[in-house]
């Protein structure tokens, strides 16, 4: 939203209108990797019917979506894919981290599973459960609607403040310092990201 307004102009009513419009047509981008994806399908199908809350229009292209639902664990190989899809979504956008694995790594505290996607992309709503019941998914959508209604602005000013890293602190704290080596497969400089611009 490239609407330029002076700081002394108050646009509360327009914000309200924009928020109200946005919150009732959140189109999810189902980034479904594992078990939670099946529960996401269950929440969209006959018994739970996510359409009642305006979120049934699942679009598999990130360009058409407002909210990315990361459903399931994210492995090492998948992180660059997830970041790229997040960067491809147009503003304003939100992210729901569905399930224990996406939020914290869950039961998979192993070498290849990322311990929470919030280390790598910003997350707005966390849903607990392994996997969460469809009711919890609906609750998360409602919570996100409430968040948009409370804090949203028409030009997305609330996002500009979030410049810092939002994930958990001390990212290598769980390993004993003697065990930490600079891994030969250094993915930050590895060949998958090298030469590719982050924004595309």
């Amino acid at each position: 939203m490239a609407l330029k307004l002076d700081d002394n102009i108050f646009v509360s009513k327009l914000d309200f209108l924009a928020n109200w419009v946005r919150k009732n047509s959140l189109w999810p981008m189902p980034f479904a990797t594992a078990c939670c994806g099946i529960e996401l399908m269950a929440s969209a199908s006959s018994r739970y019917d996510l359409a009642r809350f305006g979120s049934e229009a699942m679009r598999f292209t990130p360009r058409q979506c407002d909210v990315m639902i990361v459903a399931g664990r994210v492995a090492m190989k998948m992180v660059p894919v997830m970041q790229r899809i997040w960067l491809q979504m147009p503003e304003p956008k939100w992210c729901i981290s569905m399930g224990a694995c996406a939020s914290t790594g869950g039961v998979f505290d192993t070498y290849s599973v990322v311990q929470g996607i919030d280390r790598f992309i910003p997350v707005d709503v966390y849903v607990p459960g392994c996997p969460p019941r469809p009711e919890q998914v609906i609750r998360a959508v409602l919570d996100l609607q409430e968040k948009i209604m409370k804090g949203g602005t028409i030009d997305g000013r609330e996002f500009a403040k979030r410049t810092a890293y939002e994930g958990p602190g001390d990212r290598l704290g769980e390993l004993d310092p003697s065990e930490v080596v600079i891994a030969p497969g250094n993915f930050a400089t590895g060949k998958r990201l090298r030469g590719l611009p982050l924004v595309n």
Partner: protein, 408 residues
């Protein structure tokens, strides 16, 4: 019959300038899961397909060496997440074989019923997803409606609707109640109608048949040589089903209530029809098992030193308390023979086997999984080459690739 490929590719795939490369996945709706295909195309014809997997590799087998036999069941659950309870039954089947335990008749019957319910659920999702990818949303909704009933049964039995973690070494976490029996009876009664609805939607549907018949043909010899099992092999004419060939659980007593569903077609339509047929056979098994459900305990006796005593015994008797602690203290737990064993079950996707190496403790030294999805996905380049790009969802759906089992 597969079409003739009009051009060939060398190692790099780029010796012909008119060929182009299409990246399919890892985040693509038709894959349903996270897998990637690099397709080399001549127009719409696929000249070469290169699968790239591992996007969901989560170290299951490493975890299996870190958790004990009862704890690892929660991880096994998440392997084939479309039919979790079947994985648990296969895992504990192997562990009980390793330890030489013979579970009680009631436990065998309950496990059989749950395994067959899981098979129906898996086939329903597979069939529904194929229909969804080929343009028919309604069959998917019908299928999911039935899956919700299966979830209800599991939730009543175990407390969790999706990943029940219901089995334990030597039995189950708790017995089932009367509601379970009536729910299963109601399911047996209502399922054939829903099955008929899906059949009527798809079996004579011209679009569905045109897009599946003759697509992705696999001959019998190839199916054997490429290690196929389950519906994929049976659709190619391999009459092999572990429920008949190596009966386990209550299947020896239920042999008369089911048949093996086979086909000679070997194409996507045959795989679809085999799955539809198997669901009806599974309902017959469930109907026979629920009417013959034996009474008695679900766990083997506590003197075997492997089953977790129930809470009342733990709180009210000294023997129960001691055994509870013996099983939960990290340096005690149970003893196992120092040996290795392979146990396999017929799950919805094929033969799910575990090769367990034990070093005498309650943890596996190595918990190798034989994942049917992994072996079936290796077929994919063979099945798709020479076909059109729109056949990719049909072939992928008919193989029923579950990424968590594919990558583990």
């Amino acid at each position: 019959m597969p079409l003739e490929a009009v051009a060939s590719v060398d190692e790099t795939g780029t010796d012909k300038e008119f060929l182009y490369t299409l990246n399919f996945g890892p985040q693509h709706p038709a894959t349903h899961t996270t897998l990637r295909l690099i397709l080399t195309l001549d127009g719409e014809t696929i000249v070469k397909a290169q699968p790239d997997i591992g996007f969901l590799h989560s170290g299951f087998e490493k975890l299996g060496e870190d958790l004990d036999f009862n704890q690892y069941v929660t991880i096994v659950d998440r392997m084939n997440y479309v039919s979790p309870v079947a994985n648990e039954i296969a895992w504990h089947h192997t562990i009980e074989k390793l330890m030489g335990l013979d579970i009680t008749p009631r436990c065998k019957y309950i496990r059989t019923i749950l395994a067959e319910l899981a098979r129906i659920g898996d086939h329903l999702l597979c069939v529904g997803a194929v229909a969804l990818d080929l343009g028919g949303l309604t069959a998917f909704l019908y299928a999911f409606n039935e899956r919700e009933r299966i979830y209800d049964i599991l939730e009543n039995a175990s407390g969790q609707r999706f990943h029940p973690s219901y089995t334990r070494v030597g039995g189950l976490i708790n017995d089932v109640n009367d509601l379970f029996v009536s729910q299963v009876r109601a399911f047996v009664k209502s399922f054939p109608k829903a099955h008929g609805d899906v059949c009527r939607l798809l079996n004579k549907n011209k679009i569905f048949i045109d897009r599946t018949q003759g697509v992705g043909t696999l001959t019998r010899e190839e199916a054997i040589n490429r290690s196929c099992t389950g519906p994929v092999a049976r659709a190619s004419g391999v009459a092999r089903d572990l429920r008949k060939d190596e009966p386990y659980l209550a299947y020896p007593e239920l042999q008369s209530s089911f048949k093996i569903v086979c086909s000679n077609g070997g194409d996507c339509l045959a795989r679809y029809l085999v799955r539809m047929g198997e669901m009806l056979e599974s309902v017959n098994i469930i109907a026979a098992a629920i009417e013959n459900l034996p009474s008695g305990p679900v766990n083997i006796g506590t003197d075997s030193k492997v089953v977790i005593p129930d809470k009342s015994a733990t709180y009210r008797s000294i023997e129960g308390l001691i055994q509870h602690f013996e099983l939960f203290m990290w340096n005690r737990r149970f003893e196992t023979p120092v040996n290795e064993v392979y146990g396999a079950n017929e799950t919805a996707n094929g033969e799910l086997g575990f090769y367990v190496v034990s070093d005498g403790s309650a943890k596996a030294w190595r918990a190798r999984t034989r994942p049917p999805s992994f072996i079936h996905f290796a077929l994919f380049p063979h099945l798709i080459e020479g076909h059109q790009i729109s056949d990719v969802p049909a072939v992928l759906g008919s193989l029923n690739i579950i990424a968590a089992e594919l990558d583990r």
